[in-house]
Amino acid sequence: MSDALTEERAAVSEAGSADRTIVGFFCRECAYAAADATGNARVSLPTTIRSVLVPCTGRVSPLHLLSALSEGADGVYIAGCLEGQCHYREGNFHALDRIEFAQNLLESVGVERERVRMFTMSAADSPKFVAAAREMHETISALPPLKRK
C-alpha cells in the first residue's frame, strides 16, 4: 500500500500548476506496456495525466482511488488488461467491481461518478491507450475542479 500511495502523492503534488490532474493506475502487463509503446511512437498524451505503475489492477483498492481524489486529483482511472486476459486470472474483475463501488460511494456524497473510471486494453493496443487517456482528459475537463475541505 505505502509504495503505491507515496508514488501517487508525489504524482499529485508535482502537478501543482496544471489546471486539472488525472491519476492513472496502469497494469504492468498491459496498459504500461501500451504506454511504453505510445512513448516510443512519440505520440503525445494529455499533460494532465499522471501515471502510477501497479503490478496488476487488482492491487488498486478504493482507498487508492479516493485518496488520489482527496489529495489533488480531479479524476482517477485504472487501465488494465482485457476481460479474461488478466495475467493474475481475475485481477481486472476485482478492479472493475472496486471502481463500481467507488463510483457508488462518490455518488452517495454528491460527487460525479465519471471522475472514476476503468479502461481495458491489450499490451499491443497503444492507440486504445491514447484514446482512453484523451477520453478521460475530456471528461474531467468538462467537469468543474473537485472541491476539497
Partner: protein, 149 residues
C-alpha cells in the same frame, strides 16, 4: 432454545412430534459496535444460526465513524474531504467487493452462543453475560425442567 431452520425441518420429520414452540434463547446478549467493524465477515462465517450475515449493501456512514487509524477510517477521511453532502444512505456493493459490506444482525435468530464475539478481531461483536436473575426466571429453563419432571 430456538432451533435452526435445518433443526426445525428434522424435528418435524420425527414421528409423533408436536411442532415445537420456541421459548426464547438463554445465552449471551450480543452487542454490535458497527464503528469498529472492518467487514472481515468472520462473525458471519462462524454463526451457527444465521443470525449474523454479510449484507448486500454498505452504509458509508460507517466510514465516517470508524477509528481514523483504521483502513475504513482512512477511506472515511478521504471521502469527507471531497464530499459535497452527507451520504444519502446505504449503497449497492458489487459482488467482488467483500469487505465493504454492512453486517446484518438478526437478534431474533441469535442463540447467544458468543461465537461471533470470540472470532471478532476488533471487538465489534461483544458478548455480554446474561444476568443471574434472568437465568433463574428463564422460560426455556423452566419449561425444560417441566419437560424432564
Amino acid at each position: 432454545m430456538p432451533l435452526t431452520a435445518r433443526g426445525e425441518a428434522i424435528f418435524e420429520r420425527l414421528p409423533g412430534s408436536a411442532p415445537r414452540i420456541s421459548t426464547g434463547a438463554i445465552g449471551c446478549q450480543i452487542v454490535r459496535h458497527e464503528e469498529l467493524c472492518i467487514g472481515c465477515g468472520r462473525c458471519a462465517s462462524v454463526c451457527p444460526s444465521g443470525a449474523t450475515a454479510k449484507g448486500q449493501v454498505f452504509d458509508p456512514m460507517q466510514l465516517y465513524s470508524a477509528p481514523p487509524d483504521s483502513r475504513r477510517g482512512a477511506l472515511g477521511v478521504a471521502l469527507r474531504a471531497i464530499a459535497r453532502h452527507q451520504p444519502s444512505g446505504p449503497i449497492e456493493v458489487p459482488e467482488r467487493v467483500s469487505v465493504f459490506r454492512t453486517i446484518v444482525f438478526d437478534a431474533s435468530r441469535c442463540l447467544g452462543c458468543g461465537a461471533c464475539a470470540r472470532v471478532c478481531p476488533t471487538g465489534a461483536a461483544e458478548a455480554l453475560p446474561v444476568p443471574a436473575a434472568e437465568i433463574a426466571s428463564s422460560s426455556s429453563l423452566a419449561s425444560a425442567r417441566e419437560a424432564t419432571a
